[in-house]
Structure formats: C-alpha cells, structure tokens
C-alpha cells in the first residue's frame, strides 16, 4: 500500500526516517537546481559602486563585527558594504524556518543574509527610487526619515546603487541580487524543484509498496 505523504515537511520527515538516501538525494538535486541562480545572484554583487560619496564600501579589510568604530555611521547602525561578505551571505538553505505571522514555514529558500547585501538588494524599492524625507540630525527620531546632515545623501546613495545594479522582479520580490537572478530564471528552477519533490515522493511510495508486498509475502 502506497504511503501518503502530506506536505513537504512530512515528506522530508518521512524520508529522513525511512529513506535517508532518498532525502539526501533530493536535497542534492534541489541544490544543483538552485545553485546556478545563487551563482548568478552572487555575480551581480559589485565590487565598486561608482558615484557613491558616503565611503560605504570597505572592501580592503575584513569587518568581523559592525561597531560604532567600524560603521559608516557614527551611531553604528549602518553596516559597511563588503562585497565578499555580501557574496557569502547569498546562499541556498533547506532549513525549515519558523512559522511566519501568516502561518507559513519555508522549506527551501535562497537567502541574502548579510545586512549590506540586503541594503544593496532593495534600496529605493519602496518609493520606486525615491529617498526618505529628510529631517536632519535634530528631526524627529523615526526610521521613516533621513537624519543625515546632507539633505540629498539618501537620494545620492540610491541613485549610485541604482546605477550599479538593475532592480528586477515584482512587488516584494523585486531586487538587485537574488530577486533579480530569480526573476531572470523565469521560474525554471522553481518548476524543477517541484519536479524533484514529486520524484522523491514517487520513489518513496514505490519503495514503501515493495516493502509492504514483501511483508505480505512473508
């Protein structure tokens, strides 16, 4: 009798428990499918961003930890841009995440984990290339406003990043690195991942059937 596996998480649990080789094979297959997308995203990480006046890029030295001393900002909240670190932060993950507010868990994902990479990815996305309103260092303390001494600093920053990398995608899946690579892949990787899961399910079911038949024969 075929084993019914409800949902991907249950499938992975079942595979891990009863067919670890299949689980490993499925993970490797999915990784091979997603790897070109990850590589492409890493390729979009620029080592130099022309026209950037803030001194955001610190590619010459490795920054282990962002502190007040190492941050581009005096308050130590804005990270430096290190292309190596940004590239290292772009990776495929098959770790099952915690449930989000809507009740969904992520099973397979591509992450852009570094803070600088996230800034490079989506800077200027919300207002379509427009910077935050400027209130200056003494303005109301809110993340919705720019507190720079230079009123045009935000716009200059966004313009420089936009010139270095094109933003692609739709809505919340629009960006310059992983979202761009995913968009350019045109869903081929997604379909291949689904197919790999189906394949693993089918193989697991067939194996479960054979086991049942053996039991019956015994």
């Amino acid at each position: 009798m075929p084993t019914e596996v409800k949902g991907v998480i249950e499938l992975r649990k079942a595979l891990r428990a009863y067919a670890p080789d299949l689980e490993k094979e499925m993970r490797k297959e999915i990784y091979d499918i997603v790897k070109p997308v990850v590589s492409q995203a890493k390729g979009y990480v620029q080592s130099e961003i022309m026209g950037l006046r803030t001194g955001w890029i610190r590619s010459n030295k490795r920054l282990k930890k962002i502190t007040r001393g190492t941050s581009a900002f005096r308050k130590g909240v804005f990270p430096f841009y290190n292309p190596t670190e940004v590239k290292a932060g772009i990776k495929f993950s098959d770790k099952i995440s915690k449930s989000n507010r809507a009740g969904f868990v992520s099973v397979f994902k591509i992450e852009n984990k570094s803070r600088a990479g996230a800034i490079y990815e989506i800077a200027g996305r919300r207002d379509n290339g427009k910077a935050q309103d400027w209130v200056g260092p003494k303005g109301p303390s809110s993340h919705k406003f720019s507190h720079s001494q230079n009123p045009d600093a935000g716009q200059h920053f966004i313009n420089a990043i936009s010139n270095s990398g094109t933003m692609k995608g739709e809505g919340p899946r629009r960006g310059r690195l992983i979202y761009r690579a995913w968009n350019e892949n045109q869903g081929r990787a997604n379909a291949a991942v689904f197919k790999a899961i189906d394949k693993a399910t089918a193989r697991f079911n067939s194996r479960a059937t054979i086991v049942d038949l053996k039991r019956e024969a015994a």
Binding site: R101, S106, V107, F108, I110, N112, I178, W182
Partner: protein, 539 residues
Amino acid sequence: MSNVVIDIITQFSGKKAFKDADNAAAKLSASVKRLGAAFGVSLGGAAVLRFAKDTAKAFIEDEKAASRLTQSVKNLGLAYAADDIRNYVDQLTLATGVADSELRPALQALLQVTGSVTKSQQLLSDAISISRGSGEALTTVANDLSQAYVGNLKGLRKYNLGLTQAELKAASFVDIQERLNSLFSGASAAYLRTYAGQMELLANTANEAKEVIGKDLVSALVLVSGQTGVENLSTQMMDLATFTGDAVYGLGVLIDKINNLAGLKQIGGIMGLLEMNPITGAPIAIAQFLADLGKSAKAAKNTFNFPSGGGAGTGGTKKITDRQAAAAELAAKKRAAELLKLQKASLKATADALKLKKAGTLFDVEQAGIIAALKGQVSKEDETRLQLQFAILTGNVSEASRLAGEVAKAQGLTKELVSYYSGIPNAKNPFEGWIKTLTDAEAIAKRIADQKPVTPITPVTPQIPQIPSMAPTGVGLIAGSTQVGYGDFGNGGAVGQEITVIVTLDSKELVGTITKTQTNNSLSGIPIGIQRTLGQFAP
C-alpha cells in the same frame, strides 16, 4: 537580521498561532465557567443574549399572529369572545402539540365562515384530527372545511372520502363532517402517543415557554427604557447584556469583599445567608423574591390597563358577554340554516335540470334516428351497436357498459375469424389436371408421329395417295409434317415425300379421356383437391 529571502517551497502550518488561540479560548472558557459556577449561572453571556433574542423574537411573532386573529374576531362582531379564544388557543396548543402559529390562522378561517365561536372550535378540533390523519397541513384542512361549509366541496377530494362525485354533490356538510370524523377520528390522540408526537408536544411546549419568557423580557425592557414600543429592542438588549455582565462582575467583587469581612467568614460568607437550592445550589430565595415582585407588578399593570367593565363588576360583565354570545350564536345558526337552505335549493335545481334533460331527449333528432334504425332490418351486431349508441346518448351507464362489452366481444370474434382464414393454405387450380392431360396427349401424338421403320427401305418411285382431310372442324391435334415409311400408312410410298397427318379428336372423346385420366390418378392415389370455401382459386 535581514528578511531578504526567496521562499521556493513553503507549507502552511500555522500550528503555533492556532494552538495558542485554542489554548487561550479554552482557558477563557474554563475561567468563565468557573465564574458562572461561582454564581450559580450555567450559561455564558453570549448564550444568555442569544436566548433573550430568541425568546423576544418568538414572543413578537406570536403577538403579531394573535393581534391579527383578535382584529378578525373584532371585525366579525365577536370581540366579547377575544379572551376566550386566546385562552382556547393556548390550551389547545398545549393539549395537541400544534403550534399556536398554526392554530390561529386555521381558527380565523373557520370563524370567518361560520361566524360562530362554538362551531369554529368544534371544527378546529376536527381539523386537527383530519390533519394528523391525512398528513395535510392544518391550515389547508381548515380552509377546506370552511369552503365545504359553504358548499364548495372541491377541496375534499384529497381526503379520499370514498364517495362518488354524485354522492359528494348530494351530501350535506353534516354528512361530510360525519364521514370525515369516521375516517380520521382519534388520529390526533394516536399521533400524540407516538414518540414523534410526544417530541413535537415537548418542542411546542418549549416554544410556548419561550414566548412567555420573551413577553416578560420585552415588557421588562420597555419598563426599564421607559418606552412604549420594542423598535429598538436589539440595541436595548445589547445594552442590557453589557449591563448584566458589568453587574455580574461587580457582584463578584462585592461578594469577595463581603466574604473577607471578619464576621461573615465564620458563617460561610454571603452565600450562607442565602437559601440554596439543594440540587443546583442556586440562591432560590432571591429568585423567589424577584419572581413574586414581577408577578405582583404585572398583575398591578394588568389591573390598571384592563379594568373590568367600567364599574359593572364581574357579574355584570359576564351577563353582557353571555348575552352577546347568545346573539352571535343565534346569528351563526341562522346563517347555517340559510346555507343549508341554499344547498338544498342547489341540489333541487340540479335534479330538475337532469329531469329536463331527460325529457328533452324525446326531441333529440339523433336519438330518433337511432330508434328508427333499430326498428328496421339490421344485423344482430349492428343492432347492438345502435343500442350502445342510444345508451350513451341517454346516459344509461350500466346498459352502455354491457353493450360496449358485447360490441367489443363481437369485434374480437371477427378478428379471430379473419386470422383463421388468413392461416388457411392456398386453394388449388381445378383445371390444373386438364393441362396435364392435354400435354400427355400431345406427347403421345408426337411419339406416334416419330415412329420409324425397322428394315431399310428401298427407294421406289412412290405413288403417294392423298389422304383427305378427315375432320376439319372440332378440337384436333396437328402433329406436323413428318416422314413416314411403308409399314405405317398405305402400301408403300416414296421415301422423302412429305406427308401431312392431321389428327382430329372428338371433344367428347377428349373429355372422356380427361375424366378417365383423373379417375386413374385418383385411383392411383393422386387426389385432385378443390377447395371452394372462399369462392376463389389460388393464383
């Protein structure tokens, strides 16, 4: 931490959120139950509100139906009996399990036709039995009865009374009522003995209880709000529910405070002061006090709103009511007598019309034609047909049925005859033997003509005599030209000369030969059958 991620495969779990919500709801429910138990309250706030709304709605619907009936009763001049009718309906619904929402329209229909409270009540009681026995709705039965009361009997067909159309037309309402009672009497009581009937009775009683509670609830709301209507009932009920909730909470706080008083702790707190129900643990003394208070308040209000007869006193009111009732009953009886008279007149008119129709047949040309035809010479079957036609025209059903059977039988016999003849094999040609005889004769003649001499013939100069024609007339057979030798004809002749032989047969001889041949065939076991049954030969 950044949130820049592409979810390739996700799955909806939501377990944590739902589980948290479930746990929270369960805890809340348990807390509320504990609180309710502490105060002897078993229903939650929402349930109380829902119940209050339901009861109020039931009462409002009931009140509407009751007001319709009351108005109808007043319009019929039976206002004196409005209270009696209301009480009757209440008692009847408890006794029979039929909802008062059904009883009122049924009673209204009957009252409008009969004009008598007594008669209507009696008919309603019958209608309940008929409804239970026949499965028809009570309103339908009451309408049918009311129509039958005024002579319209069309609706009674569905009850399968076992009466013909003519019998139904001729029957009076009393006869029909007796027939209905004989068929359906006791059906209601039998139904109430069943499980379904008892359940219906209980459900109906519960609904009645809801109406009673709803009435008092609405009255209480009106009393609290100081208004005269129930237009803003929902809003007020919501306010009441909120107010009740606050009051319950406040009561809890108060009890807590009182229980903490030093003196009361020794006697078991405030609950010890109250008389408790031994089963439910509810404080019945307070409830009893409130119930008594409400009852007396309602009684006082009713006394104020409905004074009994403007100083005439109870006895005077009763006298007036009795007088009015007697007058109404008299009017109803008068009306019933009129209806009966009209019905009798209608029946007489129908009978007269039938008689006239019968008399009119004397001058019916069609019938006269049939009678004339019957007097003439006709076959038995045609006579039956004519008699059948006559019976149909005169409306003699039994005779027509009998004659129709005979005609059908005759038609059936004719059919059988045709099928019999069609099954007979083809008749043989009686002259078939003649042709055979003639053919045989021709063959014999040919054989004779073809005979040749055994010895060779020396050719000589022949002197061929001319054989004169023997019989030029009559039936003969010409053998044709052939060559003959010496041994056959004459004393010799020249070979190669053509001789014409003409064989002439006498007709009598021929007939004789045929007769002989047939006789021989017959004797030899070759019969010649001729069947003349159908008067024709087979082709």
